[in-house]
Amino acid sequence: MNRGLLRWGDILIGTLAAGIVVAAFTLAYSPSGDARVLVINQAGATPQHEPLDRARVLEIHGPAGITRIEIEPGRARCADSPGRQNICEASGWLQAHGEVAVSLPNRLTLQVLGTEPGFDSMHY
């Protein structure tokens, strides 16, 4: 063991291991592109999480009326909303991570996310 601490194999293994660590972080924490959950935020209410797993229609009651939300596997849209300019409807289908639709009259935002955020809690 008198020839120094590191051989070339050590450097190779260390580099490979560091690469695996970086790849693991990238793979595990980058949100997947496909939307998997719809987050409905309404002023004064708890955010509501709806998985985009099966087709259904939700009706959200707001100060200006009813916002009708259509959910299909992997995507969601604002189908009908009280706003006169149809801004919420014009956002179209939300299907990529982070896409947002807003209905100001109903004080409502809709956002689709790729993955549910990590853990609620961990116990050992």
Binding site: M1, N2, L5, L6, R7, W8, G9, D10, I11, L12, I13, G14, A17, A18, I20, V21, A24, F25, A28, Y29, E116, G118, F119, Y124
Partner: protein
Amino acid sequence: MTGDPHAGTDTRDRAIAALAAIAIGIQILEAAIPSPVPGIKPGLANIVTLVTLLILGWRAAVAVTLIRVVGSSLLLGTLLSPAFWLSLAGAVASLALLAALRPFAPRHVGPVGLAIAAAMAHITGQFLLAWAIIIPHPNLPLVLPPLLLTALITGSLTGILTAHVLADPRIQRHVRNPTANH
């Protein structure tokens, strides 16, 4: 097979027993140290596995490691519990990777590389067992990256410590031919 061709079976067995006893002692001391994050510990007992591997060979390293896993679990009262199986899975995975790297040691790969590889294999083996059987939760892979990073750091540290142990003159007496033993 052995680095010391003059060692008889008795000497070799005694060496394995002594090394396993040291490893059990280290593992139990380590279990008593509170860790900020459960499941993360330095793995100092792996120093003994690596020293055994580089002095007495792979079979002795397997013996020392398995005796350590069973012996320490007997003393800690975790025999056949999930902690024991996780410990065993990690030990088997790291021994398997050490077996694959054995032809390159010590000429091309030194203790640091072996320790990093063993630590990464250890946590991967544990993780696969945990994910497959003990906690099959779809979000469990999210905890793997920080564990791998920890393994990289602790593996480097135990590797450096192993190099220092091997450089000790009292250990060097047993390393008759550092480049020829397996």
